[in-house]
């Protein structure tokens, strides 16, 4: 009964639309301007890159797998404090400390995720929120380890051996490379069998389960991936600024990353980066408005979410479809 089929199980080839090419060029242009001018904007875009990495991981768990986590800041704290303790406290090389903190965060994510991910919906959200709060309290109270409110200073910049990236621009290059590597890995995983299973879980847990997908195992794997991304972001923050304190990984990190994720486009590949860049740059763009700065910032965020509910990453697709539709209507 088998008939030859010209249709394959593999996905259609990915093609860049002109709008996407324009977006990529805009990103390169932004980086070039920041790189040439240097100064404070290097720090702003550096933060955006770090948050881009954090949100790419969060997107894995929330966007692709459809689960809620309000506690990924805990793993960023693990990465940040792990880096501070190992590099500033124990004299480890950053190149060794970074993978070490990734492994530690991943293992802790397995231990925490195994019981926690049995919860669903609001209950899972509350449990992960508690995880973030507990980590925050620990970073304040466990003074011997974290130096409490005083924070941890003297964290060396990224480097290998005697060669350290002391300049902001050099560090920015590394941050952007790590970010693009993180996005590339996330994209590869998303389009793999593993990623398809995660998206199936987001679509319908019962249906995915009935097709042979081990829901608990895959949720845990996605949680660990997100935790490792968060840990990397925390480590890079520590190296980039040279100082960390509990506030860095507090509630503001959760709200900021959620804003970035939804504004950029949850469940999309480029959404986390777009969101991170826009949310990082908007306050700077409105700095001249002085006391009206926060109002203008909030108004723009609300307007974007009203007019682009699927996030800015969905904009090129929307414009491209509209263009094709108007072409089709104009055809004889």
């Amino acid at each position: 009964m088998t008939l030859p089929s010209t249709i394959s199980t593999s996905a259609p080839r990915w093609r860049l639309t002109p709008i996407q090419i324009a977006g990529a060029l805009a990103g390169v242009a932004l980086l070039a301007i920041v790189f040439v001018n240097g100064g404070y904007f290097v720090t702003v875009i550096g933060f955006a890159a770090i948050y881009g990495i954090f949100c790419t991981g969060l997107n894995f768990f929330m966007g692709y797998t459809g689960q809620a986590s309000f506690g990924q800041n805990a793993f960023a704290a693990l990465g940040g404090y792990g880096t501070a303790i190992l590099c500033a406290g124990q004299g480890w090389q950053p190149i060794v400390a970074l993978p070490a903190t990734m492994v530690i965060s991943g293992l802790i994510a397995v231990v925490i995720g195994y019981p926690t991910l049995r919860l669903r919906g609001h209950y899972l959200a509350m449990a992960t929120f508690a995880l973030g709060l507990i980590t925050y309290e620990l970073s304040i109270e466990w003074i011997d380890l974290t130096q409490g409110y005083m924070g941890y200073a003297g964290i060396p910049p990224l480097g290998i051996g005697k060669y350290e990236l002391t300049g902001d621009r050099q560090q920015l290059v590394v941050l952007v490379i790590v970010l693009l590597l993180g996005v590339w890995i996330a994209n590869r995983l998303r389009n793999s069998r593993f990623g398809r299973a995660l998206r199936a879980i987001a679509g319908s847990e019962a249906a995915a389960n009935a097709l042979g997908i081990d829901i608990a195992r895959y949720k845990l794997a996605a949680f660990v991936v997100a935790a490792v991304y968060a840990s990397v972001a925390g480590s890079l923050f520590a190296h980039f600024i040279g100082f960390i304190s509990p506030e860095v990984f507090g509630l503001s990190m959760v709200t900021l990353s959620f804003t970035m994720l939804y504004l950029g486009g949850i469940g999309t590949i480029w959404g986390p980066i777009i969101g991170a860049v826009i949310v990082s740059m908007l306050p700077e763009a409105f700095r001249g408005l002085k006391e009206l700065q926060d109002i203008a910032y909030a108004a723009v965020l609300i307007l974007i979410l009203i007019f682009f509910p699927k996030g800015l990453a969905a904009l090129p697709g929307m414009l491209w479809r509209r263009r094709n539709e108007s072409k089709a209507e104009g055809a004889p």
Partner: protein, 239 residues
């Protein structure tokens, strides 16, 4: 000479929702290559029974598949054994394309590309409409097309036993008849099917045997052609 065990044997299977016993101990069998239908009014426990067999709800009792006790297996492990269910409401991944849904159907195959392609070709032979719209998003399909996709996706899993929960629900009579006719064709090729269906006349045309469930228990088991001789059942299910 020993007789081969049934494809599916359910022994004293029961399930609760909280304090409510939705399924009182029920027993049934499906032989190799047999199409068995389960009839019953709304709320009788038909869906619960399928969900109990596939462990989507906690259940007591025993489920044997090809003579092996699979009662302790999780839902996804049952799928790897070849017990595949098409759920009520179809359970499609609405944001994914037809192709992506079908590929996920073959999830248990791993990365066996050739076998996956072969099954895809078979599904497209049965449902050419799916081939025409292969990159269309599942959520944008008509009800009939969605049901075709749900059955097609289940076939991609290479089922040894296909269980369907009201596949004709919400479909126009002609579309429903086409879907059920396809199930008949699959059964004639040797696939064991357990069909829960509201449209009893259509189901009874295809089935060899029927179970009637009311109030969470099996009220009758009979050959499909016997139902006419049971005045009450015929009045309820054939009109």
């Amino acid at each position: 000479m020993t007789l081969a065990p049934p494809l599916l044997e359910v022994r004293e299977l029961s399930a609760n929702y909280g304090r409510v016993m939705a399924l009182k101990p029920v027993s049934l069998t499906v032989a190799e290559g047999e199409l068995v239908t389960v009839l019953g009014p709304n709320g009788a426990g038909k869906t619960t029974m399928l969900r109990a067999i596939t462990r989507l709800v906690n259940a007591k009792g025993q489920v044997l598949f090809k003579g092996q006790d699979v009662s302790r297996l999780a839902t996804h492990e049952l799928a790897t054994r070849g017990i595949i269910m098409v759920q009520e409401g179809r359970g499609l991944f609405a944001q994914m394309s037809i192709r992506e849904n079908l590929v996920l159907g073959a999830y248990t195959l791993g990365n066996a590309g050739q076998e996956s392609e072969r099954r895809l070709a078979e599904v497209f032979t049965l449902f050419p409409r799916l081939k025409e719209r292969v990159d269309q998003i599942a959520g944008s399909l008509s009800g009939g097309e969605q049901q075709m996709l749900a059955v097609g996706r289940a076939l991609m899993a290479g089922p040894k036993l296909l269980m369907l929960d009201e596949p004709s629900l919400g479909l126009a009579p002609k579309v429903a008849a086409n879907i059920l006719e396809t199930l008949g064709e699959l059964n004639r090729r040797g696939l064991g099917i357990l069909l829960v269906e509201q449209k009893a006349p259509l189901a009874l045309k295809l089935a060899r045997r029927a179970y009637v469930i009311t109030l969470g228990r099996i009220a009758a088991e009979l050959q499909a052609n016997e139902i006419k001789s049971h005045h009450d059942l015929a009045k309820y299910y054939l009109h």
